[in-house]
């Protein structure tokens, strides 16, 4: 089995985050609290309850180097939690939002974090030493609807967002005095704060779960119309691929390597996508079953119309496989999975283990170690 550990923490989990050494997990049990559990003596033990928010906590991120937790909530506030002695001490971050905060992520250098919100804005927050205060700078323009996902490029400057207006956008978040000059790539170093680098107009419905590949060369996000999008050469002339999914839409994705992506969502079962030698992405299989499709689907990956014609000739594929009209529940997850996180040791190039949480209240740890067919793509 690919799932190596399953634990029921609550009725429902909105989001979770791991401590730097992966011994503790912080999660929101669908209320205004954040619970921190530690794994010791073969069982999970609740060691802290972070109570400060008034409404559902919609995003948690635990920084790996500085060991700080940032939480955002529908109450429009954000807190940065620092561990002092055995207690977690909150610092309020004034986001200046008039709608719920929906998602949060620390930047790779952990000197900034980004918050997506229902107010059609993204907040970039950074620490001001003089005032001992986290300052929020808003990207007000461009988004026509709620921001459902934020993802930092490895260069600490570029930020990708997805929104319920169907678009995926990439912004520069260069902040004078926080980011050293010329720290970004050639694209971003001469961009001002909040400048839009590119807008990807691939989806006609809500977009979710944007992520960068480890190198930052590829971007993946999903649409609520059962599509997943892969974008190379993010910049003035991006190269996009759309892959249509046979089943229910996805909510979040994770790059385990440059060429393998795990998608999770309403099908309650992680899906594996991989790129072949020529860089064409396709669906490989579900992770939670040992069924291996005879050949990967060629339908949907549409580089251009010319490619589409080629794919049309492929008679084999999972479309023709034995059909299961409705897969019985009884997989590891029993409800929509809305969060997927890597469990990567420092220095590892490839994510071998990752965790998922969802509306069924479980946190599941998956291991790709013995999945030989997937390893061949890594």
């Amino acid at each position: 089995m690919a799932a190596v550990s399953v634990h029921q923490f609550a009725q429902c989990i909105t989001c979770h985050a791991w401590s730097p050494d992966h011994t503790m997990v912080a999660l929101c049990p669908n209320n205004n609290e954040v619970h921190i559990y530690r794994y010791s003596l073969d069982k999970w033990e609740k060691i802290h309850v972070l109570q400060k928010h008034d409404q559902i906590v919609s995003g948690i991120d635990w920084s790996s180097m500085s060991n700080r937790i940032v939480t955002v909530s529908h109450d429009r506030n954000s807190y940065v939690w620092n561990q002092e002695a055995s207690e977690w001490v909150p610092t309020l971050v004034i986001l200046r939002l008039n709608r719920a905060a929906l998602c949060v992520q620390w930047s790779p250098k952990e000197n900034k974090f980004a918050v997506g919100s229902g107010a059609k804005t993204v907040c970039i927050c950074y620490y001001e030493q003089e005032n001992n205060w986290w300052v929020s700078k808003l990207i007000r323009k461009k988004h026509n609807s709620s921001v459902t996902g934020v993802a930092w490029h490895p260069n600490n400057i570029l930020l990708a967002t997805t929104s319920t207006d169907g678009k995926c956008r990439v912004f520069s978040t260069f902040i004078k005095g926080v980011d050293p000059r010329g720290s970004g790539t050639s694209v971003s170093s001469d961009s001002k704060f909040g400048e839009q680098i590119v807008q990807l107009d691939l989806s006609f419905s809500w977009a979710f779960g944007v992520k960068w590949s480890p190198s930052g060369n590829t971007l993946a996000y999903v649409g609520h119309n059962s599509m997943i999008y892969f974008v190379d050469d993010v910049g003035p002339s991006p190269l996009a691929q759309n892959v249509a999914i046979r089943d229910l839409p996805l909510r979040d994705v994770l790059f385990v390597s440059e060429r393998v992506v795990i998608g999770v969502g309403f099908d309650c079962n992680p899906m594996v996508f991989a790129a072949d030698e020529t860089g064409i992405w396709s669906f490989v299989r579900f992770l939670d079953e040992r069924k291996i499709s005879s050949s990967t689907s060629k339908y949907g990956s549409q580089f251009s119309e010319a490619f589409g014609k080629l794919y049309g000739q492929t008679k084999q594929g999972f479309w023709n496989d034995a059909i299961e009209p409705s897969r019985p529940r009884g997989g590891v997850h029993e409800n929509c999975i809305n969060c997927i996180l890597p469990l990567k040791k420092a220095g590892d190039a490839i994510v071998k283990r990752f965790s998922t949480s969802g509306l069924d209240g479980k946190v599941v740890i998956w291991d790709l170690e013995n999945q030989t067919d997937i390893s061949s793509y890594l």
């Binding site: 089943d247 339908y299 479309w319």
Partner: protein, 135 residues
């Protein structure tokens, strides 16, 4: 230059109507030759989702409807219909079901059942989610 002019003309509603009329004749021929699947493919091909003009949409719908009503062997249809047609076929299926016309609904429900087996729920979701490219 000539090519460009043709492109511009091809986008006008009148030009599209003419193209659809041509397509309609081709489909009639194919139906007479008992090639219903070929007829359906012809009907679905280049059916213009981005066209805003309602007359063009209706004209296109009438052609597709005739081709779909010509399908007798639904299993046979899916053994020779390529997956690239699935999404557009699903859109026309729902348009047909929305008419409430008894013979149309009988036929379209039969096709809908097989298409859902083949193309999965994702195909239905792509129809439901797409509020821009309405046929």
């Amino acid at each position: 230059m000539v090519e460009q002019e043709e492109l511009v003309e091809a986008d006008s509603p009148e030009a599209i109507i003419i193209a659809i009329e041509n397509k309609s004749r081709k489909i009639d021929t194919l139906l007479k030759q008992s090639k219903p699947v070929e007829a359906l493919k012809t009907a679905l091909e280049g059916s213009p989702p981005k066209i805003k003009d309602e007359r063009c949409k209706s004209a296109s719908w009438i052609v597709v409807h005739r081709a779909m009503m010509g399908i007798k062997d639904v299993d046979g249809l899916f053994s020779s219909l390529e997956p690239e047609y699935y999404d557009i076929l699903m859109k026309y299926l729902y348009r047909g079901l929305a008419t409430g016309d008894r013979p149309t609904c009988d036929q379209f429900l039969r096709i809908h059942e097989k298409l859902t087996e083949k193309a999965g729920l994702g195909c239905i979701l792509r129809y439901l989610a797409d509020t821009v490219n309405i046929i």
